[in-house]
Symmetry: C2
Subunit: 209 residues, 2 copies
């Protein structure tokens, strides 16, 4: 039986945050860091930080706190796949192109290796160093390039269909920008980035506090 010491989604998100911050600290040549410093920089409590780090089994010292380099490394070993994970983007519109630009060459371990669109005008061009394929080549490219993660940036009305294509092609991690609730079989994870909802929340709390 595999010991799946379950780590919550929340914790994964925070670990990603901590890592980004540690990267910055490393650039600043900081060698050690305390839980309360990480907490301060990431907007959580020190206890939360310690608990999250406990989850990945990294131990610090009571005097020097955590070694920035080692902690960074530990989180990376935990979060990242041993090899590169390839990503596909579907929907090369306004947002899709911004995302392509943004991610282009930024993360070594997670790179968008193929874009897809149903619009023939966009297809078979290279945009920000990324080739744009027609949708009917989706499954083949996913298999060929071992793509594991999908980003959906098509209109809401098309999102479920695109999602289904992704799932059918074996993708099990999806980032969804479209204003649509996707239905997926268990085992497929969807990260929701819903701007409309976020804006409404911000507006609500701007009023209510």
């Amino acid at each position: 039986m595999i010991k799946t010491s379950h780590i919550s989604e929340r914790t994964i998100g925070r670990l990603s945050l901590y890592r980004r911050l540690l990267h910055q600290l490393q650039a600043d040549e900081k060698v050690n860091v305390f839980s309360h410093e990480i907490a301060q920089l990431s907007g959580v409590t020190a206890a939360q930080v310690r608990r999250d780090l406990m989850a990945i089994g990294y131990s610090g010292s009571s005097v020097h706190g955590y070694d920035v380099y080692q902690l960074n490394d530990s989180i990376s070993r935990f979060l990242d796949a041993p090899q590169i994970q390839n990503v596909a983007l579907v929907g090369v519109g306004n947002l899709g192109q911004a995302v392509l630009t943004y991610l282009s060459g930024r993360r070594p371990k997670l790179s968008i290796v193929a874009a897809f669109d149903k619009n023939p005008v966009k297809v078979n061009r290279v945009i920000n160093g990324c080739r744009c394929y027609p949708m009917n080549e989706f499954a083949a490219q996913v298999q060929q390039q071992k793509i594991e993660v999908g980003i959906i940036a098509v209109p809401g009305s098309e999102a479920q269909a695109v999602c289904d294509t992704m799932v059918a092609s074996g993708i099990r991690g999806i980032v969804n920008f479209a204003p649509a609730t996707l239905k997926t079989p268990t085992g497929v994870h969807v990260e929701v980035l819903d701007m409309a909802v976020s804006l409404e929340k911000a507006a609500y709390f701007a009023r209510i506090g």
Copy 2:
């Protein structure tokens, strides 16, 4: 003493989701809807839906469920300000322009009435029907146009400074796209839309399940 029957952030987010879905149902001329239908469409449980609706004090009927129009209306009265809430966007780059296009004319109650950038090339032009101002006019425009919500789409290194400007100008609801944890005084709400974190989470769960 004001009876602030506290409604959780989570619930606010779901209400926004339900409303979007009800809007669609209305377009489909559906008159009534049951909690389990809303649940199904929004990916939560029926009990959760009923609990959320309880929070805003809307009651349905045990036979016909909820009246689509009325529920929509109830949620809107709860979520929306009585009058329009104006929004400012800071950072008219790739993402900022996509956001401008996306929101342009889409929501009557929440419209971006001003964009800001520090790049002189972008300033004093109209982009998607929205005027782009230089940053030094920020406070004045916020006051003049009664802007209550801000969207941050500048590089991470600039985000805190922009945030501080927003807070100083009286903005109390912020949507942040930058990969930075913002520090704000209590009473200011920040909605985080962190693509880097979401992508890493999706990649992690694509592997781990």
